[in-house]
Amino acid sequence: MTFKTDLPVMMPVKPHEPEPFLRLKLWHVVPIALLCIVGTTLAFAADGDAKQSPLAVLMNWAPLLLRGFIFNLVISVSAMALGTAVGALLGLGQISPNRIMSGGSWFVTQFFRNAPWLVLLFFAMFLLPFELSILGLKIPFPDWFKAILGLSLPVMANVSEIVRGAVKSLPSGQWEAAESLAYTRRQTLWLIILPQCVKRMLPPWMNLYSILTMATVLASIVGVSEVMTLTGRALSAEGGRPELLAPFYGFVLLLFFVYCYPIARYTVRLEKKFAVIN
C-alpha cells in the first residue's frame, strides 16, 4: 500500500548559478591569464639565454594559433547545426507511437551516445571516403568536413535524448487535457507539447554546444589543422623546448575558457529563468 504525498520529502533538484568566479568580469580573466603565462615565461627566461623568451615565441605564433581556434569554432557551429537537425528528427522518432520507429531511434541514439567521441571521430576520419561521386559529380570530403561529421554523430544522439527528455518531462496532464479536447496526436505534439519543450531544451542544448566546442580539439588527434594540431607543430618547429609547453598549452586553455565560460554562465541564467516561469 502506498500513499501519494505532496510533502517536500525531497525538494526539486534545481540548477544554481555558481557564485561568480572571484567576482571578476569576464574581461578580467584575460590579463590575469596573460600574467600567468608571462609569469611562467619569466621564470624560465631567468636562465639567461640568448634565445627568444617563451612569451616572445608565443606572440610569434599567436596569430596562427588564433586562426586555428577560429577553425575550431567553425567546426563546432557546423557540427552543432548538423547534429541538431538530425538529432531532433531522431528524438521525435523516439517518442513515436510506432514501436519499430521508436525502438530503432532509441537504439541509434543509445549506440552513438555510448560511444566515446574520440572513437566516433576516428571512425568518421578513416572510414569515410575522401570524396563522394554522385552522378559523376565529385563532392570532396576534406578532413575538416569529416571531423564535422564525426563530431555531429554524438551531438545527434545527445540532441535526440534532450528532445525525448523534454517531452517526457511535461506533466501528463498536458497530454490528457489536449486529448480530451479532441486534438489528434500530431496536433497535440506540435501545438501543445513541443512549443513548451523548446524552453526546456535550450539550456541542455547550449550545454551540449559547450561540450562540443571543447571536443573540437580531438580533431587534432586525427590531424585536422585546428588549434591543438598547430600548437604541436609550432612546438616542434621551435625544436621541442620544454619551457614552451606551459605557455602554449596555457594559451589554448585560455582561448577556450574565454569562449565557453560566458556560454556556461548564460546557460545557467536561462535555466533559472525558465525554472521560475514553469
Binding site: M125, F130, G223, L230, G232, R233, A234, L235, S236, G240
Partner: protein
C-alpha cells in the same frame, strides 16, 4: 581509368602529403606554411609538371590511408621503404633519401647496445614501423606519441629512457646546444632508404618520379637542400650523387 597525372594537370595543382612536425624535413613557419627539405622537393615536382603545389600535413599513422584514399597525389613524408608497404602503395625507385633507426638518450645513462633497452620505457611516434620491432626484438616498452614535440618533451622530462627515431633527425638534434647532454649511442639498425610514394597502379606518375629522383641525385639537389636546411650531408646522399654523376 584516368591517369592521376591528367587529373593533376586538369586541376592545375599537385597535392603532396608532407610532414609538418619533422624539422628540418617538413615543419611549419609562424605563418602556418609548411617548409623544409621535403616541401622543397615537392615544389620541384610541381614545377616540372607546370602546376601549383599544395601541401597536406600528414603524420605517420595516416599518411598511407591518405594516399590510398586519393586525398593526396604524392607522399614525401619521411617514410621508410619497406616491402609490406610496397603492397599498399607504389614506391618508385631509386630511393631519394635514407636513414636508419637509432635512439636519442641521455649520455649519463650510458646505453651501449639495443639490448640495454629491455624493460625500459622508450618514447616513439605513433605509426612508426620500428615501434613493434623495438619492443618485440629488444623488449623495450614503447610509449608512442602523436608528434615529435610530445616525444621530445617526454624524453626531456624523463618519462622515457630513450627516444627511438630516424637517425638523420637525431643527428640534427645532437648538434643543438639544448640537447648537449644527449647522444645517439647505438649502432644504427634497419638502415633503410626512404621512399616517396604514389597510389598503386599509377605507373606513369611513378616513372616520372623515378626520373625526377635520379635527377635530384645527379644534380646534387639533395645535398644542396641538406645544406640549405642546416643538416650535415649524409653518406647516402653523397653516395647517390657519386653513383649518378
Amino acid at each position: 581509368s584516368a591517369d592521376v597525372l591528367d587529373t593533376i594537370k586538369e586541376r592545375g595543382k599537385l597535392i603532396v602529403g608532407v610532414k609538418a612536425d619533422y624539422k628540418p624535413y617538413g615543419f611549419l613557419d609562424t605563418s602556418g606554411a609548411v617548409i623544409g627539405i621535403e616541401p622543397d622537393l615537392a615544389s620541384d615536382v610541381a614545377a616540372k609538371l607546370g602546376v601549383e603545389v599544395e601541401f597536406v600535413p600528414v603524420v605517420s599513422s595516416n599518411r598511407m590511408q591518405f594516399l590510398e584514399q586519393g586525398k593526396i597525389d604524392l607522399m614525401i613524408a619521411t617514410m621508410t621503404d619497406k616491402p609490406d608497404r610496397r603492397d599498399v602503395v607504389l614506391i618508385p625507385d631509386p630511393n631519394y633519401y635514407s636513414s636508419g633507426t637509432n635512439i636519442l638518450s641521455l649520455k649519463s645513462l650510458g646505453l651501449k647496445e639495443w639490448e640495454d633497452l629491455r624493460g625500459k620505457p622508450v618514447c616513439g611516434i605513433q605509426g612508426a614501423f620500428y615501434n613493434k620491432a623495438t619492443s618485440q626484438n629488444y623488449g623495450a616498452e614503447i610509449v608512442a606519441f602523436k608528434g615529435t614535440a610530445e616525444a621530445y618533451s617526454a624524453l626531456k622530462a624523463g618519462n622515457c629512457a630513450a627516444f627511438v627515431y630516424d637517425d638523420s633527425a637525431i643527428v640534427a638534434k645532437t648538434n643543438d646546444p639544448e640537447w648537449a647532454d644527449y647522444e645517439m649511442p647505438l649502432p644504427t639498425i634497419d638502415d633503410a632508404p626512404w621512399g616517396l610514394a604514389v597510389q598503386l597502379g599509377e605507373g606513369n606518375f611513378a616513372a616520372l618520379m623515378s626520373e625526377m629522383i635520379v635527377d635530384w641525385h645527379k644534380s646534387g639537389r639533395i645535398l644542396e637542400l641538406e645544406t640549405k636546411w642546416g643538416v650535415a650531408n649524409t653518406p647516402f646522399a653523397k653516395a647517390m650523387n657519386e653513383k649518378y654523376k
